[in-house]
């Protein structure tokens, strides 16, 4: 156990080191010329900041720096809130649709599958712009402000960022759920339940869903880089004061690396907690 834990810890440290190497890449290219000394200096600086030997500050001009640390958590919270809410909404909607899908007759499933394929090809950016344009259009036509299009001084935009991030995520979940549900309902226990006369909604709800949902949630690990990329764009487009805002305004390698670490570490911890707490059969969908 101790050995296992220490090896885990060593791996985490290695991953963090990998991020530091990644975060300092901007310093590696000085006016398009390779500058290894600058790279090493930047890495040293980042490590000193992380160990606490160098004050972690942001803000360009000398003398006007502000400490990174309490401030960055505010931005992180904003990003985390939008990510969490949209993941939740995406999963809920996807589950609802997948239930409807499997209770419908075969011919209408084909239509839905085709619609999904088309939607899948649409770049996520169109959903973000689309929701924005839609709200503006509704406002122009009816004078009704459905939701804030962007965060401007105190007026927070939460609904639109969440919705436009949730749509592509929902499509991703839906694609995966349809695949997994389809595999699962072929299994013997479902046939048995059907033969016993259990109603299809009950089979889906009691048996299939429980066997599938955990592995689906776990699977987002492979798509996280994409969801987070979308989150970054959503934050920029809707002017959300999230972590992207922080990076955009204060682009030093130290701030960049700290931000990357703050994105990575919570996700790493939650995935490992998940692995530790949830048995493997559930994760891989038995």
């Amino acid at each position: 156990m101790v050995k296992h834990l220490s090896s885990k810890l060593f791996n985490l440290l290695l991953s963090l080191f990998g991020i530091i190497l990644l975060g300092s890449i901007p310093a590696l290219f000085d006016k398009m010329n390779l500058s290894f000394s600058g790279y090493i200096r930047s890495i040293k600086g980042v490590i000193l900041v992380l160990v606490g030997l160098k004050p972690a500050v942001y803000g360009g001009m000398a003398g006007l720096e502000k400490p990174i640390f309490p401030q960055v958590f505010v931005h992180m919270g904003e990003s985390g809130l939008i990510l969490f809410l949209s993941l939740l909404a995406a999963l809920a909607v996807a589950l609802f649709i997948v239930f409807v899908y499997f209770l419908l007759p075969g011919w209408s499933r084909k239509g839905i599958a085709f619609g999904l394929r088309v939607l899948d090809g649409i770049p996520d950016i169109l959903f973000m712009i689309g929701t924005q344009l839609l709200v503006i259009y509704v406002f122009k036509e009816t004078g009704l402000n459905v939701a804030n299009v962007a965060t401007v001084q105190g007026e927070r935009a939460v609904l639109l960022p969440v919705v436009s991030l949730a749509i592509p995520t929902m499509l991703m979940f839906l694609k995966l759920l349809i695949l997994r549900f389809g595999q699962e309902i072929e299994k013997d226990y479902v046939v048995l339940a059907r033969a016993k006369g259990v109603s299809p909604p009950a089979i889906l709800n009691h048996h299939v869903l429980r066997n599938v949902v955990v592995s689906t949630v776990y699977y987002i690990r492979h798509h996280l880089w994409f969801i987070l990329s979308n989150l970054y764009l959503v934050e920029v487009l809707f002017n959300v004061p999230g972590i992207s805002w922080f990076i955009k305004d204060y682009p030093t390698t130290e701030v960049f690396t700290v931000a990357l670490l703050l994105i990575y570490v919570p996700l790493y911890l939650s995935f490992h907690l998940f692995e530790w707490a949830v048995p493997g059969e559930w994760r891989h969908g038995g």
Binding site: I129, F226, V236, L237, I263, Y268
Partner: protein
């Protein structure tokens, strides 16, 4: 019979034709038309009023014009060869290097493999758009005050970064696929019969790995298109020219008519004249859908499922 086949392959054929025609039209425009795009500076309305660009999509301008009166359909077609060409190049480099690195990785001892996987773990989680944007932006921002670096250097740099950032996760994927092939029974047979390592690689592993690489290639093509689309919206042209969008900000035209540049330069019109940025975005969308249709077909044929 015919109908069935058409239903199965029709989408893929149409998609292939679409991509081919787009590139051919684009190359043709350069050869026979000198890469010119028709420009309409002023237009006389029916009632005699003089209209100024941008003109919305109409019979005359199928997809409308931008604020300088350039026909957007023409600009998008002229830019197609750059956007598609550079994306193909990036996708090819990614697949090629991941293929060989993955192959080498299968010879790495297990403990080292695990450590390497840990070291590069973040590459598969962190948002690629953000990392690519910050790296490209910060590097090119430094050079913006001084004499500009030649275009090919900036373009090469962008290609390099977009390839390298994806290599670690992709190489691990290819290594996993290679390992899976190595564990197959016929590989045991090849070893028992005394096939040398070289023979095993060239005669057995590579033929089985090529279909996987084909799938990976198209997938990386789609992924690169999406990244370019994102970078374009964020205001980063291909070649790395930074544009600060704002009412008084400097205006930089996309030299090569390349799509992400068209988006970047025109994204501020999204509310007032939405068709201007939506045309290049639409071309990206069509290309992505075409590539995905092709991917579906190839996956069905080779039985390989896509990674990531």
């Amino acid at each position: 019979m015919m109908w069935k086949r058409w239903r199965r392959d029709g989408g893929a054929i149409l998609s292939g034709l679409f991509l081919l025609l787009l590139v051919l039209a684009s190359v043709g425009n350069t050869f026979w038309n000198d890469g010119d795009v028709s420009q309409t500076v002023l237009l006389k309305g029916e009632d005699g009023t003089i209209l100024a660009p941008p003109f919305p999509p109409s019979k005359e301008f199928l997809l409308g014009t931008d604020e300088k009166g350039y026909d957007l359909l023409g600009r998008a077609i002229e830019g197609a060869k750059w956007s598609i060409g550079i994306t193909v190049l990036i996708a090819f480099l990614r697949t090629f290097f991941a293929f060989w690195i993955g192959m080498v990785m299968t010879y790495v001892p297990r403990w080292l493999y695990a450590k390497l996987e840990a070291l590069f773990d973040s590459f598969s989680i962190l948002p690629l758009t953000m990392v690519a944007f910050v790296i490209l932006e910060s590097v090119l921002l430094i050079s913006s005050g001084t004499t500009p670096v030649p275009f090919y250097k900036r373009a090469g740099f962008e290609v390099l970064i977009l390839v390298i950032l994806v290599l670690p996760p992709l190489s691990f994927y290819m290594a996993k696929e290679t390992k899976r092939i190595k564990e197959r029974e016929f590989m045991d047979a090849a070893r028992v019969l005394g096939g040398s390592e070289r023979h095993q690689i060239w005669r057995h592993i590579i033929p089985h790995l090529l279909p996987v690489s084909g799938v990976v290639f198209i997938q990386q093509f789609v992924q690169t298109l999406i990244i370019f689309l994102h970078l374009g919206v964020l205001g980063l042209f291909f070649g790395g020219t930074m544009v600060f969008m704002g009412p008084n900000g400097p205006e930089i035209e996309s030299i090569s008519q390349e799509w992400s540049g068209l988006i970047g330069a025109n994204f501020r019109y999204i509310v007032s004249h939405p068709w201007i940025p939506l045309v290049p975005i639409g071309f990206y969308t069509a290309t992505i859908i075409a590539a995905q249709t092709l991917l579906k077909r190839i996956e069905g044929k080779t039985g390989t499922r896509s990674p990531l």
